[in-house]
Symmetry: C2
Subunit: 339 residues, 2 copies
């Protein structure tokens, strides 16, 4: 692995060591220890999860069986919540076999998901409650009955979770707080019927608006992206894609990142002082913004590209390079990819 | 690996064996042998490239050094064109070391890219000419001088290439033909100065509008996507993401593909008879279209999702399953990922 940023093979995913440390410390101060359950889907990287553990968070949220398996293998399995419904018997059996090495809790929201989990021999579930986002989660008034069924089958019901993903990007803080409170009301109503110690909710966009849950599930705060940056959160853009300019004319330049190294669902990435024309599979065409005073980038120069959405960007990459200034301090495997 | 479609772990990338065979045969009939240089960036899969070779195409287009290395390792290296500019000395040296096993031609469009290729000891280049797409490629009137410099350094100049990517989605055929002709005029003007045997251009959206080039570079035709399907080409949608419904209410269902298993730059994927509400990292929320008469999908049922853009979809997956009806005939590694 290279010791210098300019020697990295591009496109390369890089994280600024100081920005990352700032983000992890800021969150650990606001939501210390078990009050934050970091979501590994945002970085899919056990070394980064290890750093979160060193900041006091020993419980983690996962989105896929592979993430659970990888976290258990990395000895980060004290308390793993798979906050997603899984029906595949094969991977559920693998998770079940890991219960000696890790505490694994599975989200369920239906009889079918309960059956699948129980059949595989998994012992702990959490009731996933719909709190307004049209996605997974059982209706709040049906949560108690599902918990009863789970207990009747000998399972431990850890509590409830509900993700208010539809509220992450609300910009007015008072409006956001009011809407989060409505979502939490639904979750607490379900919890009254379900019982259990855990009331899990939230994300990076709402982490500081929760005072009635036992924990928040924050992911994006560690690396950040340009979408979350628009919310004015106290976290810094730590993740970029490091690229090389491979072609240039007197009107535009082209660097070597593109649709296969950037999650595009939140739109184009950003480059400081530059306007992004468009992205192709392996290219970004860009030119200086009118007021930047920049010249067009020259062939061979390096450009830092800020992704619009962290999670699907990271999922394209094999490595995450930790950098400070011009130095590459470490290179971490993005070892939790796939499903 | 599973023998039955319903046993596949989801999300799973699947290709319909008959649709693939139809697509490969249709292209081989229209552009036989060396008149088509299939682009492996669309599938990143050497077994599929091997099938293209069995249909008569022994020359291939690549977008990354890894694609060239993988094709050479798979004994598909008779004639590999890296149709992209590369400056990284390390990977260029690796490509150079493969020249005994494979014929490798590198695109160059500047003094810097010529220097990089020559310094690494690579022996064959093609002059990448800008024919209207604001991306890579030298201005047509400067192409001859760059070719002269390359020859002066002892390199073989194979010819010219130019990609009219800005014209792929023009829907009116007469207008498209006229614009393609303008682009080819530019390419031929450059070729008059450059020389060489190869005049390479085109893609799936324009493959049948080229009669003055020696070869077209088609990628998407093999697997297809919903964007190209809108053009009415004689190729069938062969690629889907196979998913499991993991949650459902009386208003929507949720399947287990999402932003990390689908390229999103062309917008949401499609599901027959269903309206896609939105995609999250690991989920698609959808419900029946009003006129479909469908009921809401039930938990545990399977859903075929058609990606809007093939290339960045494939790049997320490790495996491509070849299916016919309910049977999984084969499972291919997507072995050309990364850069």
């Amino acid at each position: 692995m290279s010791a210098w940023l300019h020697d990295l093979q591009t496109p390369a995913l890089i994280v600024d060591a100081d920005a990352l440390e700032h983000n992890l410390s800021a969150m650990a101060a606001a939501k210390p220890g078990a009050t934050n359950r970091p979501h590994v889907k945002a970085h899919k990287c056990t070394p980064l999860a290890g750093l979160q553990a060193m900041h006091g968070h020993r419980s983690f949220t996962c989105a896929t069986p592979r993430e659970v398996m990888g976290m258990a293998a990395a000895a980060l399995g004290d308390d793993l919540l798979l906050a997603n419904e899984v029906l595949d018997p094969h991977r559920l059996m693998i998770l079940s076999s890991l219960q000696e090495q890790a505490q694994i809790t599975l989200a369920i929201d239906s009889n079918e998901t309960l059956d699948a989990v129980a059949h595989a021999g998994l012992q702990r579930v959490i009731i996933d409650v719909n709190v307004g986002l049209p996605r997974c989660g059982i209706a709040p008034d049906k949560a108690g009955a599902l918990a009863d069924k789970a207990r009747a089958r000998g399972l431990t019901v850890a509590g409830v979770m509900g993700y208010e993903g539809h509220l992450m990007m609300v910009t007015d803080r008072a409006e956001k707080k009011a809407k989060v409170d409505e979502a939490v009301d639904l979750l607490l109503a379900a919890h009254a019927d379900v019982g259990g110690d855990v009331i899990s909710s939230g994300g990076t966009g709402t982490y500081d608006l929760h005072d009635r849950v036992t924990e928040v599930q924050t992911g994006s705060y560690a690396l950040m992206d340009t979408s979350y940056a628009s919310l004015g959160l106290p976290f810094r853009q730590a993740l970029h894609v490091w690229t090389t300019v491979i072609s240039a004319t007197d009107q535009w330049a082209v660097c070597d990142a593109g649709l296969k190294s950037l999650g595009m669902d939140h739109g184009n990435p950003s480059i400081d002082g530059q306007f992004v024309w468009f992205c192709s599979d392996e290219h970004i065409t860009f030119s200086p913004t009118r007021d930047s005073g920049n010249a067009i980038a020259t062939v061979g120069s390096k450009v830092k590209v800020a992704p619009a959405h962290v999670d699907p960007t990271v999922a394209y990459h094999e490595w995450l390079h930790v950098v400070r200034g011009d130095e590459v301090l470490d290179t971490w495997a993005i070892d939790l990819r796939g499903w």
